[in-house]
Symmetry: C2
Subunit: 422 residues, 2 copies
């Protein structure tokens, strides 16, 4: 494992309003023209970003007008990319698979800063106070933390552990989230650990020097084999990691770290799969609604319901395929579910009270992600192989808009800036 | 009761960057200069508004820099004023006690539209889809609904009912909130009713003519005497009205309107007061945290805890005075409580798990309101008679900023645009 910690700054922010790859000109010709006049005042509360993974760019979208405002190119490898937003809603941080971390200005369409901060990364988080951006890295394994204004390094947590031969290794890091109290929580895939980094510093403490500031990190060891993803609940209290190497889930109550990590839902995982697992489900989309938590079964055509009072399995809801994202409409009345190949041309809507599927929709080929508007009246669905994003009215389940987009994957709206763990 | 439905438009939006009433020049001299260059791009996610009630103006604040950006004057009688935000976070709707409804641009500092839509009003709401603004009126009693872009009238619901003599009257309207499904819910103080207006219209329906469009309104009668305020939970499911004329609370489950309105917490109200009631507590600040709901006792030095499974009283927490607002930090770990006269120079912090007071703070004289930053790391507290807003770090409970402000009352941050019922 080589350390590739080169930092590449692009000193000249680039305006990228209408730069379109030649190969996609035909596709994009049918689009409405970009309407963002970059010097015009506008609010950022109804903006969002769609990852166009094949082209290394993002589309900046307006959820009021339901249209693409502009495209920002030059973001590197955006397979499995994710996005966080600054607390002002203006700047987005794009985490690329290639270790790229880009800070883009949604108003001007510029990349204000871009660094390659590792060789392989898997998502990031922004601190509660908005001052810090953290990235979970596979290679070299660890977490790197940057100033959210400048992308200057603030801290590095190398995720060191001793392997079974007593040798020091760096673990790949997954499931990085922000938690209340300006903390970051993450899991070590190779070490089977959860760690909590406290980013608070004493008033008057010396400024960090190139990532050498000291921060407290709490280790929770032996939490289970190969945590591969994690979520934190909307209150920022429960951090739950999925395990690739064994069944069950690892849960840390951040109000009571002294109680350690507990195993919940002991049957959950690949062990219960009756079918080959095409894709491990995403945990981010998990939904807690009152005392119920809804989540995708692994390898089974089911959405599972847990009782959060004791985290026991309360119900199984039959669905169309192997679920990937199980996402709740903000009022918790509906769940929208997408599926793994070969059932990935369908989205199903579940009534959380009846606990049954009430609609089956066909938004296109290879449905990868869904994002609700903040109050839930609309949902945007990306269909990668149909090169489109479809917007539905969640009350009528009617299509209300369709946006052309080249291989769209993740969709992220700016209200995430104001939610714990998003 | 006279109908005063004059609409007054101010056709020339006014730039009001540095207009300061002569009487307040001395006070404001010590302020940092306004830093908002009105033509500069900026995000709106970290903006907010502080009502300066004595001066008929609002201060636009930046929660990242923790400073006042500018002041907007000419907003009329702002006693008991409240604020809602457009879904883009750029425009704020200011509801004045005098029936004034103003739409202000937080970026330019302009009042874009202003109307006097009734003789006496008590708050408003913005629809789930952001297209409509509704105002609850005392005089003439009813709800008026406006286009959120233009403030042109869209609908009027006069709140008509038959009094005990069989005569038709217009009731004063209170507790107006938005609910999922593009509905408005409100209570009729004089009629003892809750009503639900469904603002959805058939596709292709004719545009409304001067408020004459037809919308469905559902009536719930005999809900209890004199509902005086109401709240809707964060999921938009439960609408709960406080009753001034009898004990208990009236609850409507919007998922099951067919079940009608039920009485919950039958002992809650003035009947249990052991002390003279200096001020009826506000319901907006009520807090639901998991299975617990926390709310201010009426006339007693207590915060009450209800079990939301059956809405029974679970606990009473002794506090410093008669509570007015009981507001939850977004992670639900803390409650911040302010009090009625003569204890209104104190704020107390309650640990929701221990159910006890863990801190008592003195932010100044006549503490009227509190607002948390969206992720809860800071809370802003207005002290009217000390002419200041104090910002606390909610982790350390230390004061981290102090802003001079003339008679500040309500504080409202733009992330409310993206929360149901706020």
């Amino acid at each position: 494992m080589t350390l590739k910690l080169d930092r590449i700054f692009y000193p000249r922010p680039r305006r990228l309003q209408a730069v379109v790859a030649a190969s996609s000109l035909a596709l994009l010709a049918a689009q409405p023209p970009a309407t963002a006049a970059a010097d015009e005042l506008r609010g950022t509360g109804d903006l969002g970003v769609v990852i166009e993974r094949a082209s290394g760019r993002v589309a900046v979208v307006d959820t009021s007008a339901r249209e693409v405002l502009e495209r920002i190119e030059g973001l590197g490898d955006l397979s499995h990319a994710s996005v966080k937003f600054a607390r002002d809603g203006r700047f987005a941080f794009i985490f690329g698979r290639d270790g790229g971390l880009s800070r883009v200005d949604l108003l001007s369409g510029e990349i204000t800063h871009r660094i390659i901060q590792s060789g392989n990364s898997i998502g990031g988080a922004i601190s509660q106070d908005g001052s810090l951006v953290a990235v979970a890295n596979y290679e070299p394994g660890g977490v790197r933390v940057f100033d959210s204004q400048t992308l200057e390094p603030v801290a590095e947590f190398p995720a060191l552990y001793e392997d079974k031969n007593g040798e020091e290794q760096r673990s790949r890091v997954v499931g990085l989230v922000d938690a209340p109290g300006n903390r970051f929580v993450y899991s070590l895939f190779d070490a089977g650990e959860i760690r909590v980094a406290d980013m608070n510093r004493e008033p008057g403490a010396a400024p960090p020097e190139n990532g050498k500031a000291a921060f407290d990190v709490t280790r929770f060891t032996d939490i289970g084999k190969k945590p591969y993803d994690a979520l934190i609940g909307p209150d920022g209290r429960y951090y739950i990691a999925g395990l690739f190497g064994e069944d069950g889930l690892a849960m840390l109550d951040l109000w009571h770290p002294e109680d350690g990590v507990k195993r919940i839902l002991p049957d959950y995982g690949r062990g219960e799969a009756r079918l080959p697992v095409y894709k491990m489900p995403h945990l981010e989309g998990w939904t807690m609604a009152g005392r119920q938590a809804f989540f995708p079964a692994v390898g089974r055509h089911e959405v599972l319901v847990a009782d959060t009072a004791d985290w026991s399995l309360a119900d199984r809801i039959a669905v169309h395929g192997q679920p990937i994202f199980v996402m709740s409409r903000p009022d918790k009345r509906q769940l929208w579910v997408n599926f793994a190949h070969p059932d990935n041309d369908v989205v199903q809507v579940i009534d959380t009270e009846k606990r049954e599927v009430v609609a089956t929709l066909s938004p296109g080929e290879a449905v990868l992600h869904m994002e609700f508007s903040p109050k839930g009246e609309q949902v945007w669905v990306s269909a990668r192989d149909s090169n489109r994003v479809t917007v539905y009215d969640t009350r009528t389940l009617e299509e209300i808009a369709r946006l052309e987009s080249e291989s769209p994957s993740g969709i992220f709206f700016t209200h995430r800036a104001h939610r714990i763990g998003l």
